[in-house]
């Protein structure tokens, strides 16, 4: 599957099928710090991602102190 990451924006290929939580573990990303979006739709941690899916791992942590 094609996985889009942000900050900076980049794309990587990950073999599927794979559950969302397994993908995050493989990327070493804490689940509290991201949303996983497949074809524009939020997907839960136990969802199975297919090899043909386009997936975005979107960070949700904002940094400014103001």
């Amino acid at each position: 599957m094609l996985v889009t990451l942000r900050n900076p924006r980049r794309e990587i290929e990950v073999a599927g099928p794979l559950r969302v939580l397994d993908l995050l573990a493989r990327l070493d990303v804490p689940r509290e710090s991201v949303l996983v979006i497949r074809n524009g739709t939020l997907v839960p941690g136990d969802a199975l991602l297919a090899d043909a899916d386009a997936v975005e791992v979107r960070p949700v942590i904002s940094g400014g102190m103001a």
Binding site: R6, N7, R9, P30, R31, E32, S33, V34, L35, I37, L42, P44, G45, R58, P59, V60, I61, S62, G63, G64, M65, A66
Partner: protein, 306 residues
């Protein structure tokens, strides 16, 4: 949408209702706003400020947005586009103030000239201009998109260093006083993962890329540390912050009052300050800017667009 601290998963309509309920509850519990009040929303184009604006309008408040053009290159160009698109799509009023056009400086150059870190110069500029615009425009309150993660991270940092004077003033609502408008944080019961999910589900196109000047700051480190704890023990962030507000914050009010000092009017712009000249006017002067002594222009022409 999984919300582990509630040990529950929500379908889209119920998750959106949860967000609305949490904001309504925060507003009522902390007596932030009253029906029909005019609110000035601090809009950055990011997920929190756009979710906040959307929710306040949905709850029936007269909410206008104020966007500051910070001059942080492409990041500012894109964030302005998101703020404008949101306002235009909903027929809402977005006031724009461009630091470079109206005050002759931007955050990168201002921070360097004033020898402040960028987040400090940015926060100072925002606080001053949002306050001044709210007073100038006769708004009942300024609403900011600080969420549960923001508040928990600030509290965490202040506790680690025992900045008791800051701990005492970390409140979800600061009442109007001495020339400052009332300031409210209606998102304090929502995590930033929840505000991001709210935007995705509502189709709100927000600025996802992070401010390049914030990379690596201490605040981000505190958030990451808290998220590691939250991963193992869901609900810890919410308990840390809400129990602090309910049980602890008042105990530090004395430290805050001692630190605040008496307020007078800035000799340059008239804003409330503890010194002769306020920090904003000093920043503008050091940055070689101008116009700090003038009222905020609420009918300003839109900031330059791409």
């Amino acid at each position: 949408m999984e919300v582990r601290r509630h040990n529950a998963g929500f379908c889209a309509p119920h998750f959106l209702k949860l967000c609305r309920d949490q904001v309504e509850r925060a507003i009522a519990h902390h007596d932030m706003l009253h029906p029909g009040e005019r609110v000035l929303v601090a809009v950055s184009g990011g997920k929190d400020s756009l979710a906040l604006w959307d929710l306040l309008v949905d709850l029936g408040y007269q909410a206008d947005g104020l966007y500051l053009g910070l001059g942080i290159g492409e990041y500012s160009d894109e964030s302005g586009d998101h703020a404008r698109a949101f306002a235009q799509g909903r027929g809402l009023r977005l006031i724009e103030v461009d630091l470079r056009e109206q005050y002759g400086y931007d955050i990168p150059t201002g921070a360097r000239a004033a020898r402040r870190v960028p987040c400090s110069a940015c926060g100072l500029s925002k606080r001053h201009l949002f306050d001044a615009a709210a007073v100038e425009g006769g708004y009942d309150a300024v609403a900011t998109g600080h969420n549960l993660d923001d508040e928990a991270a600030v509290l965490f940092g202040n506790v680690l260093r025992w900045h008791t004077e800051y701990i005492g003033r970390q409140q979800p609502v600061l009442p109007e006083r001495d020339g400052f408008p009332r300031k409210v944080k209606p998102l304090v019961r929502l995590s930033e993962r929840e505000t991001a999910a709210y935007c995705v589900l509502k189709g709100i196109d927000y600025q996802v890329e992070e401010c390049p000047m914030a990379a690596g700051n201490r605040h981000l480190g505190y958030k990451e540390a808290l998220n590691l704890i939250e991963e193992r023990s869901p609900g810890t962030k919410a308990a840390f912050y809400s129990e602090f507000i309910d049980k602890v914050a008042d105990r530090f009010a004395v430290d805050t009052a001692a630190e605040q000092g008496a307020l007078g009017a800035c000799a340059s712009c008239g804003a409330p300050t503890t010194g002769e000249v306020c920090a904003f006017c000093k920043l503008v002067e050091r940055a070689g800017g101008h116009g700090a002594d003038q009222p905020v222009s609420l009918t300003a022409k839109p900031a330059s667009r791409r």
